[in-house]
Subunit: 140 residues, 2 copies
Amino acid sequence: MDELKLENQLCFPFYSISRMIIRKYTPFLNELGITYPQYLVLLVLWETDFQPVNDIAKKLYLQTNTITPLLQRLENLKIIERTKSETDERKTIISLSTKGHEMKLKALEIPYKLMEGINFPNEDLVQLRDQLKKMILLLQ
Amino acid sequence: MDELKLENQLCFPFYSISRMIIRKYTPFLNELGITYPQYLVLLVLWETDFQPVNDIAKKLYLQTNTITPLLQRLENLKIIERTKSETDERKTIISLSTKGHEMKLKALEIPYKLMEGINFPNEDLVQLRDQLKKMILLLQ
DNA sequence: TGAATTTATATCGTGCACGATATATTTTAC
DNA sequence: GTAAAATATATCGTGCACGATATAAATTCA
């Protein structure tokens, strides 16, 4: 019976922490005029520019039907560009605009500002990150 | 510069794991005809029946404008009932219907079925749960 | 080569999340 | 005792997530 107690749920803490951290991000992302999932897409593009929709989706463990409209919004905001691949016309290649590139400079301070607001012991964080990585592999 | 790499993000693993576990829940919850956030509300009600909207929202770290329409859907499904408090007319008291009570019996097996699909070492899980609890306290 | 299958993206519908706002009830303070 | 503030819920708009479906291009294979 205890297994149905909220306190003993496995997913609930992940679900809550995720939303709580996103809330902490929001004021900084508002300054850039983007949302958290849009920020994740930009992180991917800042690492590697010019990628098909599917590659971005896979890196974020999302489906293309989630990020297609998100990418259309980023295009409307003039942050990215969407062009058809010349070698494979099915593929839509996503690339950063000048504005998208410039946003990286402003974004650089976000991770620091964010961690200031959360006083989590650093040694715990390192260990936690390893556990979470293991967990993602098991869940895929 | 490395702080903007997807791999080094703090929130991304929580966001991904949360969605991945919810995906594992979905087939079992489909059998009950409910969604994961609706399941969370039922967990709260199965522990304590008859609660105002606000109490449920607080336990789930959600806002009332998120769960009000969710509760209306659960009412349409005849799983819960919504009645005004007699002592404070502002409060809407949420209670389980007969169907809502009966669903608990079917739900009892969900935690076991779910953990079967994830081979996470048990000693790690205990430690992880403690870390996550600490984190939630820091983030509130 | 041409039909069948696979791949890549897009579209549509539903249900969250959440900021902003509205409305009604209760409490507080003068 | 009544106006102001606080509380509780509801409504509205936008942007995800994701299942289901559509469409078009590329690949496979008979």
